[in-house]
Structure formats: structure tokens, C-alpha cells
């Protein structure tokens, strides 16, 4: 079964590459890393930065190099988290609808593969290509920073894991929407809405104050606990990169539960769908 799913993952990988969006993603990642490589200059004396220059602008203040690295890495991680997710969702939005096309799905079902495996292969293919791109960017930028500073902080790699995990959660929703509507554009719009709705829900205490009626509070709380908490996942990523303690893992596990629920529902509907 593994080799059959692997073939599906490979086809998905090739399809993503053929769509050029991932080539653009890869190109942008390389460009960011190269800019980083040539634009950032550090002089380090006894663990203290004696001068730092970014794009030729030099700072004379003395800062602990570890602090500086944490700051740069967390800034890069947050940038990658929001930008990487945005691009990854955009680039993979068409994969489920293209799987559902008549003439494609028929041939796959005629193979000795369960429908669950077909969907899983597609899903894992999308996660694999996003993982490839994200880790390329994270590892490349981590290497540049570490080589330039001599400070090897593996915590930065957690950013890659968190971005891919958050993508996997959001892509589970996009998979369900793709199955239900067969529209890449629609599923992308709804997923973006969820992505950007999350920071709003985080501020729900301030929203309560503007609303009358308890029902709104219950409704907003329900939304908050049910939907993936992308803003908080971004914050957890930042804390992990900075090596600071994470006080609550609730946003992570409730988001993972949401992803599993979406994937299970997708499998259920896909398994019973007439093509």
C-alpha cells in the first residue's frame, strides 16, 4: 500500500511543480536567503556584536549576539509563518478539485486503492511539497545566520515544523471544501477567511463589549475553540524560536483536533461520493 500512496504523492508533487506557483515560491525563498546572505554583515568580538550592518546600514550599539540572533530568527519565523502559509495555501488550492475531475478520479478508483488512500495520498502530497519548500527556506536561512554568527540555535528549525503543521491543519479544511464544492477558488477564500479571522477571535473580549446579548459571546467562544487558532500558533512559533516557555498548548492541540476532524469528514464524504 505504501508504494501506491507514494506514487500518488509523487504525482501530486509533480502537479504542484508543473503549476509553477511552487517554482515561484522556491525562487522567492532562494532570493530571500541570498539577500540575507549578502545584506547582513556582523562583526563579533567575544560573543558581543561590535558592528552589524543590514543593507549597508550600520548600527553602533553593542547588543548581546544571542539576543540579536533570537530577534532576527523570530522576525524571520513570523514572516515565514504568515507569508509561507499564504503562499502555500494559494499554491495548493487547486489540487483537490483537480483530483475530483471526471476522468481523473475514475482512473484512480479503478486501481486497487481505497478511496481513503487516494485522498490521503493527495493530502500528503500537498503537505510534502509545502514541507519541502518551507524547510528549504528555514534550513537555508538558519545556515546563513549560524555560519555568519557562529551561533547554532536549533530552535529556529521549530519554525519549519510549526508552519508545516499549521498548513496541514488549514489544508484539511481546504480538502473538505474542495470535495464539497470542487472549487479551488472558493475553498481558498474560505480558508483565508479562517486564517485572518483567527486574530479577530483572539480579541473577542473587546468584541463582547460592543455586542449586546449573551448568545454572541457563546457564539464567538464556540468559533474560537472550534476553529484553528493561527494567530496563536504564530505566537507559539515565535516563542519556540526564541527559546521561551510556551504557557498554553491549548491553541495547538485544539487546532490539531480541528484538522483531524476536517480530514475525517473529508474522507467520509469522499468515500461515499458518486463520481
Amino acid at each position: 500500500m505504501n508504494s501506491k500512496i507514494l506514487a500518488l504523492i509523487q504525482i501530486t508533487f509533480r502537479e504542484s511543480l508543473a503549476k509553477k506557483t511552487f517554482i515561484a515560491f522556491f525562487g522567492i525563498s532562494t532570493l530571500i536567503c541570498l539577500l540575507f546572505m549578502f545584506a547582513l554583515n556582523l562583526d563579533i568580538v567575544d560573543g558581543m556584536q561590535s558592528s552589524v550592518a543590514l543593507f549597508g546600514q550600520e548600527s553602533k550599539e553593542l547588543i548581546d549576539i544571542e539576543m540579536l540572533i533570537f530577534k532576527i530568527e523570530s522576525a524571520v519565523a513570523v514572516l515565514l509563518f504568515s507569508g509561507g502559509l499564504f503562499m502555500s495555501l494559494f499554491a495548493t488550492s487547486g489540487l483537490i478539485p483537480s483530483l475530483m475531475q471526471t476522468g481523473t478520479v475514475d482512473l484512480l478508483i479503478s486501481k486497487p486503492l481505497g478511496r481513503f488512500h487516494i485522498l490521503l495520498g493527495r493530502y500528503l502530497g500537498a503537505v510534502a511539497i509545502v514541507g519541502f519548500n518551507v524547510f528549504y527556506l528555514v534550513i537555508f536561512s538558519w545556515l546563513i545566520l549560524s555560519l555568519k554568527t557562529g551561533f547554532w540555535h536549533a530552535g529556529f528549525l521549530m519554525a519549519g515544523i510549526m508552519i508545516v503543521l499549521t498548513f496541514a491543519i488549514l489544508y484539511a479544511l481546504m480538502t473538505l471544501l474542495g470535495i464539497l464544492t470542487r472549487s479551488g477558488a472558493f475553498s481558498l477564500m474560505i480558508t483565508y477567511l479562517i486564517l485572518f479571522f483567527s486574530p479577530l477571535l483572539l480579541q473577542r473580549d473587546q468584541i463582547y463589549a460592543l455586542l449586546s446579548g449573551k448568545i454572541w459571546g457563546i457564539l464567538l467562544d464556540s468559533f474560537y475553540y472550534f476553529l484553528p487558532k493561527t494567530a496563536e500558533l504564530g505566537n507559539i512559533t515565535r516563542l519556540l524560536v526564541q527559546g521561551q516557555p510556551v504557557f498554553s498548548w491549548m491553541p495547538l492541540w485544539t487546532s490539531v483536533v480541528f484538522g483531524i476532524l476536517m480530514l475525517t469528514t473529508s474522507t467520509y464524504i469522499f468515500s461515499r461520493k458518486n463520481f
Binding site: 508504494s3 501506491k4 507514494l6 506514487a7 500518488l8 509523487q10 504525482i11 509533480r14 502537479e15 511543480l17 508543473a18 475531475q101 471526471t102 476522468g103 481523473t104 478520479v105 475514475d106 482512473l107 484512480l108 478508483i109 479503478s110 486501481k111 486497487p112 486503492l113 481505497g114 461515499r272 458518486n274 463520481f275
Partner: protein, 305 residues
Amino acid sequence: MTVIETHHLTKYYANGRIQALEDFNLEVTPGMIFSLLGPNGAGKTTLIKLLLGICFPTRGKAKIFGQDIKNYSCHSKLGYLAENHRFPEFLSAERILYYYGKMAGLNRSYLLERIPELLELVRLKEWGKVKIRKFSKGMLQRLGLAQALINDPELLFLDEPTDGIDPVGRREVRDILLALQERGKTIFLNSHLLSEVERVSDEIAILKNGKLIEKGNVQQFISVKHTYQLRIQNGKAELPDILNQFQISAQEKDDMLLISVSDEQQLNQFIDELRKRQLMIQAIIPHKVTLEDFFIKVLEDSQPS
């Protein structure tokens, strides 16, 4: 042992408003080329999709190789060429066969041998490394056939296999099907090209509005009972007399005489008389109609009066 069997297979769409297949019973035995005929929307593709688990029956049951169609493990023994199939156009023909072969559970070493053989069989050897977005409709169809054959299946479902293929290609497809049949494979064919069906099929079923209206042996359907085509070389003047003697009705058709006898015994007595009068018989063959004639007649007969 039957390869395919269906029991009261029924499929409705749109909450029962569209009746795609109604109470369909069928048995297909091994080594047979079985063809499904019917006008557009008769339910032919729906039947194949039901058998392959692409859609699910509203009622009834079906088995392939004795296994319920819900069990997809039997798919390792079958191949399928879908109507309007769609391959990833960013891949080459070789890669498509490789990936679909892998999905069929085949290993790499087998596929590396099998793929060139199949590309040769469907006349795409020179195109193996070319991305299929450059392929014509006929080439895609031939690639589809190669894909259906990748696992050397025991049962082959072909939905309009010659669609878009030129006459030479059609003949090649026909030869491939007959060669597969010789190797004991069972072929389930769905085609609008009745002349092709007539040439290759052992049995046919005719569907209309989701219902089975005729099923049986092709040769029996196209043979007209107790009617023969007769060609004689000389003594044509004596024929009316002999025909009257045996009370055989006849009519001229091209350069032949179409005679209708009551049974084989009367036919033999008639031949004896011809020989006795030293008339030279050049040919006497059972009269047949084309499958197209038969198909149209069956459809017309099924119209409610």
C-alpha cells in the same frame, strides 16, 4: 464461474428523479468479449462505474471474480479505460504508465520491462518521453489503452476505446482485443461503433433508459432464422419452377437470391433438387443483418405503442 454478475442492480440520481439503471441482471463468463450497446444516456457508463466502485448502487448487488464490488482488492485483476479519461498533462507517456502501474501495485522492475512493450503495442514507442500535452486525441486514447493493460488484467473494461482513433488505429485496437481474448482475457466493451462491436463481440446487451431490453449471442442476433443467400451459376430460368415446387418464398438481392425455408430439411431437399437438375451452386450462406439493423429494430420494438 462468472467474471461479472449483477443482481437487480439499480442506480438513481438526483434523489430518484433520474433513473440511470433499473433492475439490471447480467452474467459475463471468462474469456468473452461482452459489449454493451444503447443510445446516449442509456446507462452504459453508469453500469461500468457501478462495477468499478466509482459510483454506488441505489439497490441490488454485483460481484467481480466472485467478490462484492465494494471490495476493491479485485481491482488488481482488472484494467479500465474511461471515456474522456484525463491524465496529468505535465507528465510523459512513460511516467504516466509508471505512476499508474505503481498505483496498481506493480513493482519497478516489472514496469521497466512492461512499459516499452505497451508503448510498442499501442504505437507510441517514439513518444514515450514526450509530455502528453502534445498528444492528439487518438494518441491519448491509445495511451489510455496501454494504461488499462499495464497490469496484464484478467478483465478489461473499455468505455468507447476507439473514440478519436483513425480507421487504421481502430483495426489495431480490434486486433489487440482479439489477441487478449485468445489469451483468455475477458473484455467488457462499451462502444457506439456497432460495426466494431459486431466484429469482436461474443455477446451483447442492449440498454435503453437504464433497462436491459435484449441480451444474447451476437451471431444469433444478426442471423435471420431459416433465411439463406443463394448464388447459382446457371439454369436461373428453372429456379421459379423449383421454388414453386417447394413453396419457398424468394426475393432477389444484389446478385443473390434470398430464400426463406421452413426448416433445414426443406433446405436440403431444395439443394438436392438443384443438384439433380445440375444447377451449379456457387454459394449458399445464412442470411445476416448488420448489428446496426438489429440494434435499431430492437430499439424501435421497445418503443411503447
